[in-house]
């Protein structure tokens, strides 16, 4: 069994009277891909926000490598190794594709406070950024302005930023949502590749059952903010709680 990398203990988020995430206790190990499923509004994205730091916990703790990080800032968590791709595209719209990725590489290498050198003279940053773009097959679009990209390409760039960040914990929030049929496989293959590296921990919020079946080692189910099921995919999908709470809902939606 691999080491526990990330843990949440009784993690809770309340907004006024509404409990979005309700005492979720869960541990994530390296080389494991955990899919987080649940109907809309079940608290998946809020759970992500608690882990990456955008939302402050009302109760409970988050630990990375055994260190408590519940009160640590977003930027510091990223430095410590929690990387996040966002569900709604969240890029730097008026900068070029390459510049978007370069910014991530530059952050990773701690060059942000380099005031008096020319950004263009840091060839190693550009090389690393181009490599990350290559992984999502976007190297030809490097010079384009992000706001001019197709939605699918913006989603892929979102993934490229995470690749460039190269964190310990990868958090994907519906990475293939809105992608065309030929774009999605590029991203899924990439996630599969990441999975084969034993030092990575991957969390994936996903609705598509075929994707989950293909990638997940484990599924956790959130329902009304609480952890409703946790186990290997086959077991969880077959369980009553999923059949009722999630699959039933999904069938209605479809």
């Amino acid at each position: 069994m691999h080491d526990v990398v990330l843990e949440t203990d009784n993690l809770t988020a309340r907004f006024g009277g509404h409990v979005a995430v309700d005492h979720v206790t869960c541990a994530f190990r390296s080389s494991e891909l955990t899919a987080i499923v649940g109907p809309n509004g079940a608290g998946k994205t809020t759970y992500f926000n608690l882990i990456s730091g955008q939302v402050a916990a009302s109760e409970g703790t988050v630990k990375l490598d055994g260190r408590e990080i519940t009160r640590v800032t977003v930027a510091r968590r990223t430095e410590m190794g929690i990387g996040r791709a966002f569900q709604l595209t969240n890029l730097f719209p008026n900068l070029s594709v390459l510049e978007n990725v370069r910014l991530v590489v530059q952050a990773r290498r701690n060059k942000g406070f380099n005031l008096f050198s020319m950004a263009a003279s840091h060839g190693e940053i550009t090389d690393a950024a181009e490599a990350a773009l290559g992984r999502v097959r976007m190297q030809d679009l490097a010079g384009q302005t992000v706001s001019e990209l197709s939605h699918g390409n913006q989603r892929k760039l979102e993934v490229a930023l995470l690749i460039a960040l190269d964190p310990k914990v990868y958090m994907f929030d519906e990475p293939t949502a809105g992608m065309s049929v030929d774009e999605a496989p590029v991203v899924l293959e990439l996630i599969e590749e990441l999975k084969s590296d034993a030092t990575r921990t991957i969390l994936l919020v996903e609705h598509k059952m075929d994707v989950i079946g293909q990638l997940a080692d484990r599924i956790i189910v959130l329902h009304n903010g609480a952890l409703a099921a946790d186990g290997p995919p086959a077991e969880v999908i077959a369980s009553d709680v999923v059949q009722e709470a999630y699959m039933g809902k999904a069938l209605e939606d479809a």
């Binding site: 966002f86 969240n90 730097f92 530059q106 005031l115 020319m118």
Partner: protein, 354 residues
């Protein structure tokens, strides 16, 4: 070499390159090409305002921070030189001490304002800068023992920088080579150096982070940059550059007063210059400051001439609109038109075409 000097930030448009070159050469040879006290004074003001506007653009155009305290930093640099010259006696040491202590004071004040208020939403920062700048202006006008109050301060600068000092007996290309000419070149090269440093900063890795913050501060934080530190650093750098511009202004004018350095009118002028030139492009500061200062100094003359010409031809009504007293109206119209036709400023417009 030249490319490195401008930090690889080429104008990217032949027309823009030509305009910038004309401004640069015009300022470099102003005492020879446009001799006369008034025109050289205008040229010196253009140099100083280019730095002041460029330093403001570092905050507004690159980091997306709205501040109304920029004239305060400008004034701190100017008063630094004035106070040092009065209390240490005339001399170059006073100019250096005044400039450096002004810059340090500006940096410290910017740090305090930044750390206290850049965490909060942008609008609060803008309001806090407004409050601090107003308080500072009131303080300067009330502490008249120290600052001369509303009358400001007159002081002496080294003789080597004044017209009284003559370096050549014979005029050189028709221009008297005296201390005033040297003073102009102190202002010109001082401004040029500060401008090139600002240009380097916006093209550095740090400058890229500022642009990222302007574009999407939420995501900038999420990829690992502590946004508040970057914003504060940008504010400090901008304050120091503004303070140095103020010091140059004080060296040039030999006078400081609330109206010439601290007034809210100047703050608005800076905003107009940034917008006319083009936000987020250092070169916009060059163009905005040049157009604006020229208009400020010569639009009235131009209108006076046009009024007379029209009156002598006998056109009714129209000369009334061209009365030199209405120059602010025309400046306003120029501003509205330029924002309407060049929403991204002159530089943005030229670059898009190029």
């Amino acid at each position: 070499m030249l490319i490195r000097l401008i930090s690889g930030d080429t104008p990217r448009s032949p027309i823009l390159a030509a305009i910038l070159l004309i401004i640069l050469l015009g300022l470099a040879f102003a005492p020879f090409v446009f001799p006369g006290t008034r025109s050289v004074d205008t040229a010196a003001r253009i140099c100083i305002f280019i730095v002041l506007v460029a330093s403001y653009d570092l905050m507004l155009g690159y980091a997306g921070i709205v501040s109304f305290a920029h004239t305060m930093f400008f004034g701190i640099g100017a008063y630094g030189v004035a106070l040092a010259s009065i209390h240490m006696g005339r001399g170059f040491d006073a100019l250096v001490v005044g400039s450096v202590s002004g810059a340090i004071a500006a940096a410290v004040l910017a740090l305090v304002i930044g750390l206290f208020s850049l965490r909060v939403r942008a609008i609060f920062f803008a309001m806090i800068t407004l409050a601090v700048a107003s308080a500072f202006a009131v303080l300067v006008s009330q502490l008249s023992n120290l600052t001369g109050g509303e009358d400001g301060l007159n002081y002496q600068i080294p003789r080597a920088l004044t017209a009284a000092q003559r370096y050549l007996e014979e005029p050189f290309f028709g221009v008297r080579v005296n201390g005033k000419l040297v003073n102009y070149y102190v202002v010109f090269f001082g401004s040029l150096i500060v401008f090139l440093i600002l240009l380097r900063i916006v093209n550095s890795p740090f400058g890229r982070v500022l642009q990222a913050i302007r574009e999407n501060d939420f995501r900038t934080e999420a990829i690992g940059y502590r946004v508040v530190y970057y914003r504060t650093t940008a504010t400090i750098l901008s304050a120091v550059a503004a303070s140095l511009a103020g010091s140059l202004f004080a060296i040039w004018l030999r006078y400081v007063g609330p109206d010439t350095t601290l007034s809210f009118d100047i703050m608005i002028d800076i905003l107009l210059m940034v917008v006319i030139g083009g936000m987020g492009t250092m070169y916009g500061a060059m163009i905005g400051a040049t157009i604006f200062v020229l208009a400020q100094n010569y639009l009235q003359n131009l209108m006076g001439a046009a009024e007379e010409a029209l009156q002598s031809v006998g056109v009714p009504l129209l000369p009334l609109f061209l009365n030199p007293d209405r120059w602010l109206l025309w400046l306003g119209i120029l501003f509205v038109l330029s924002v309407y036709f060049f929403p991204t400023g002159v530089v943005g417009r030229l670059r898009r075409r190029g």
